[in-house]
């Protein structure tokens, strides 16, 4: 149990440090100080943990690096214990734990038990696979490579951030660009996909500009000043679409409400006319 204590302490030491250097799993944290075995994690560190690891392999790699272990020769018992401690903490803080974390915990437990057993005589033909840690080591290495690669990709000069594409204006193009035919359904599908992304990403405010209604109000007043009166349906510009219609309607209500205009109807079912209240 002493082992577990030391490792737990390493963890908290790192968390209380405030900064979790997830991006440099290569650097193991060196200092180890005795700490109590019941892990205390400060409030603001919780959020860091929740975002710190990209998955169980990321966490495992971090633990291995922190302890300066060799990926090809992992002391499974120790790592399994430290890993379990993290899982505990993550569960304690009610982090929704992905099943994958538990799967790796199970794998570690399995490997640990395999290593405790004497070599099975029936399995001698599988000589090369004798070390049950091998596959895990391979997975860790494969993931580690991708991690490093992603860091390099992140650092590459990028359009719109580090470099900007240069353009000059070409000669005026006499005709429209010819496209392959496209159907309305394609357009609708495209929008559905936009909506899905929009819903899945951080809340996006599709707020109407309040000014937009104000603009409409001004436009309606201006038109009425010119035309004296307008038929209800003449106020609306169908080309502005559904939202445009709604905004126009809102503008009308606002104008009526503030007594700037009024609506008249000479007979039941006859057209409604809008006039300026002078």
């Amino acid at each position: 149990m002493r082992f577990a204590d030391t490792s737990a302490q390493g963890d908290t030491g790192r968390l209380t440090g405030g900064v979790i250097d997830i991006n440099q799993g290569g650097e193991a944290s060196s200092a180890t100080h005795p700490i109590p075995s019941d892990v205390y994690i400060p409030e603001d560190a919780l959020e860091v943990i929740t975002q710190a690891f990209e998955g169980p392999l990321d966490l495992l790699l971090y633990l291995i690096r922190k302890n300066k272990f060799d990926v090809l020769d992992i002391p499974v018992a120790e790592i399994a214990e430290q890993y379990a401690r993290y899982i505990d903490v993550m569960q304690k803080i009610q982090l929704e734990l992905a099943g994958e974390y538990l799967a790796i915990a199970a794998t570690l437990a399995y490997i640990k038990s395999r290593m405790l057993l004497p070599p099975d005589e029936d399995e001698t033909e599988e000589d090369e696979e004798a070390d049950p840690r091998l596959e895990l080591a391979r997975r860790l290495e494969a993931y580690d490579q991708i991690r490093k690669f992603a860091q390099q990709l992140e650092a590459r000069p990028r359009v719109g951030r580090d470099i900007f594409v240069a353009h000059a204006l070409g000669p005026p193009v006499p005709k429209k660009v010819i496209f392959e035919a496209v159907e309305l359904t394609d357009l609708i599908d495209a929008f559905k996909s936009v909506l899905r992304v929009a819903e899945l990403s951080a809340p996006i405010q599709m707020k109407r500009e309040p000014l937009f209604v104000k603009d409409k109000v001004k436009m309606i007043v201006a038109r009425l000043e010119e035309a004296e009166q307008l038929r209800f349906d003449q106020i609306f510009d169908r080309e502005e679409g559904r939202l445009g219609l709604v905004v126009t309607f809102l503008a009308l209500l606002e104008l009526i409400n503030s007594n700037l205009i009024y609506a008249v109807q000479t007979a039941h079912n006859s057209p409604i006319h809008i006039k300026l209240n002078r």
């Binding site: 240069a166 899905r196 819903e199 000014l211």
Partner: protein, 192 residues
Amino acid sequence: MPVSYQELKNITEAAILTAEVPVSVAQIRSLFPIDEAPERAQINRAIQEIQQDCETRGIELKKIGDGYRFQSRPKYAAWLLKLSELRPRRYSRALMETLSIIAFRQPVTRGDIENIRGVSVSTEIMRTLLSNEWIEQAGHKQVPGRPALFRTTRGFLEYFNLESLDDLPALDLLERQASDAAEVSESAPSQE
């Protein structure tokens, strides 16, 4: 530390070449911290020099309003027009998504489109939609920067065989379908 004259010239040229609209001297000045901003006269000198450098080249630096932009020399138009005929166009996913946002949420600014799609809108796509006369500018949004608003055109309705925008499916229906689909694919990621 103020930049050297050569740097100023380079920044001026790169700014005009990479901006999407003509760039004014004042705008170039505003790229620098106030206490290091070059004199207008210096920027004007840089612009003049760039214009001279271009004299034997295929492009020229032209003043448009109070801004500057590079454009190809008219004598090369014949070759360059050929270039625009060359490339067969495919509807890209980004183009269709951009068009659909304009159709369903009009009028919108580029920023609105960017917010909805979560990625930046390429100038190329906007240019293509404009030059195909599927969208048009519809004034400016009354917010700082007064960004241009875009809406679809009559040509858009004609192309998609719509009598009016009301013929587009209702938004709430689409939204419901979309979120259903999202849930399905979220909850069953392994069902590929």
